[in-house]
């Protein structure tokens, strides 16, 4: 078993340098270590100034997304043993502005997320006395996959269209819009379709499909967007053929 592994980590210290640079660290190799463990080892023993985000270290908080050997990954779920013998390249996520080292600014994503109204919209809220909204297993199944998203933004970092067209609402936000559209309790689909039919919505997507491949939670945002396009197209046909109000 190899005793150590080399990490090549992107550093960016805005108070010192105007462009990111590369730093090389040797960390002990442990079979049960993930890239995040190695980064924490660096921070604890080699260089305390290295900055990166993490919280849960178990794939639920979505804050430890970085590029590992060129592809977007949750570093808490990427074992060193999968990238042997190294060196392992660790970079911040693509297409987001880098704040420092491996930390990116996510406010663009947060803005977009809010834009698609990812919450249950009702015309009339049912009075509490009438009890909860019931849902069958099939109804739950219709949106469950899309509800697994942890907002890790790996899909954005994998999407060349987002890189080229920063206004594009992007994979996770559209998948989450779909999550609420498909929810039997929700009545907000027309509102969301309105928003997502705009120039920076679903029609920007050319189905590269990488978002789905990198998603650690199997959300399938690419599928969500194509299904949304079909809905949008059918809606368009209806609005053409049927008189107003009959839709």
């Amino acid at each position: 078993m190899q005793p150590a592994v080399t990490l090549r980590v992107t550093r960016y210290r805005p108070e010192q340098e105007s462009e990111p640079t590369l730093a090389t660290y040797e960390v002990p190799y442990r079979k049960d270590w993930v890239v995040l463990d190695a980064l924490n080892y660096i921070k604890d023993t080699l260089d305390g100034s290295l900055s990166f985000r993490w919280s849960c270290r178990m794939g639920v908080c979505g804050s430890c997304g970085m590029k590992v050997n060129g592809s977007p990954k949750l570093t808490c779920a990427s074992f060193l043993s999968d990238s042997l013998p190294g060196p392992i390249r660790v970079e911040p996520l693509d297409y987001f502005p880098v704040v420092r080292d491996l930390v990116v600014d996510m406010s663009d994503f947060m803005r977009k997320l809010k834009k698609v109204k990812p919450w249950i919209i009702r015309h009339d809220e049912r009075p509490l006395a009438e009890g909860e909204y019931l849902q069958t297993p099939d109804q739950l199944d219709a949106y469950k996959q899309f509800s697994m998203c942890i907002n890790c933004m790996l899909c954005y970092s994998a999407c060349p269209i987002y890189g080229l067209e920063p206004s594009f609402i992007g994979p996770a936000a559209i998948a989450l819009a779909q999550r609420y559209n498909m929810d039997s309790r929700d009545e907000g689909a027309p509102e969301r379709l309105e928003i997502l039919s705009e120039h920076d919505g679903i029609w920007q997507c050319t189905f590269v499909g990488e978002c789905t491949k990198v998603c650690p939670k199997h959300v399938d945002p690419a599928g969500a967007i194509q299904q949304y396009k079909l809905t949008g197209a059918i809606h368009w046909l209806k609005s053409l053929l049927l008189p107003r109000g009959a839709r």
Binding site: I161, L164, E165, W203, T206, K229, A233, W236, L240
Partner: protein, 116 residues
């Protein structure tokens, strides 16, 4: 009223992609390779004409040419747009792509209408 025709163009793209996926391989194999290379005997002029005289065949050929052209227009447009990063030429690209598809469609209709 519908705000933009993007959904419609996407429908044409999808329909054309399906037609091309299902039918183009066999047609290219027959017309472009099997017949010229002598793997099969070329159907005679009369038999091809006889086939094309059939109204169903005419409709088939119209769909066969037109929809895949719109499929191409859509994909090619976005490939130029994203691949070459030529945002400033968008209008030109759109006119070129969908214009070509439209011209091909009109030509197919004309030819199929006039073939005796």
């Amino acid at each position: 009223m519908p705000r933009s025709i993007t959904p419609f163009l996407w429908l044409l793209f999808s329909a054309g992609g399906t037609v091309a996926a299902l039918l183009f391989p066999i047609h290219i194999l027959l017309t472009g390779l099997a017949v010229p290379l002598g793997w099969v005997n070329a159907p005679s002029y009369e038999s091809v004409l006889g086939l094309v005289r059939n109204p169903v065949a005419r409709l088939y050929l119209f769909v066969f040419v037109s929809l895949p052209l719109f499929h191409w227009a859509h994909r090619f447009r976005y490939t130029l747009y994203d691949g070459l990063q030529v945002k400033h030429l968008t209008a030109l690209i759109v006119v070129f792509c969908y214009g070509t598809a439209l011209a091909g469609t009109v030509m197919a209709a004309y030819l199929l209408w006039t073939i005796p």
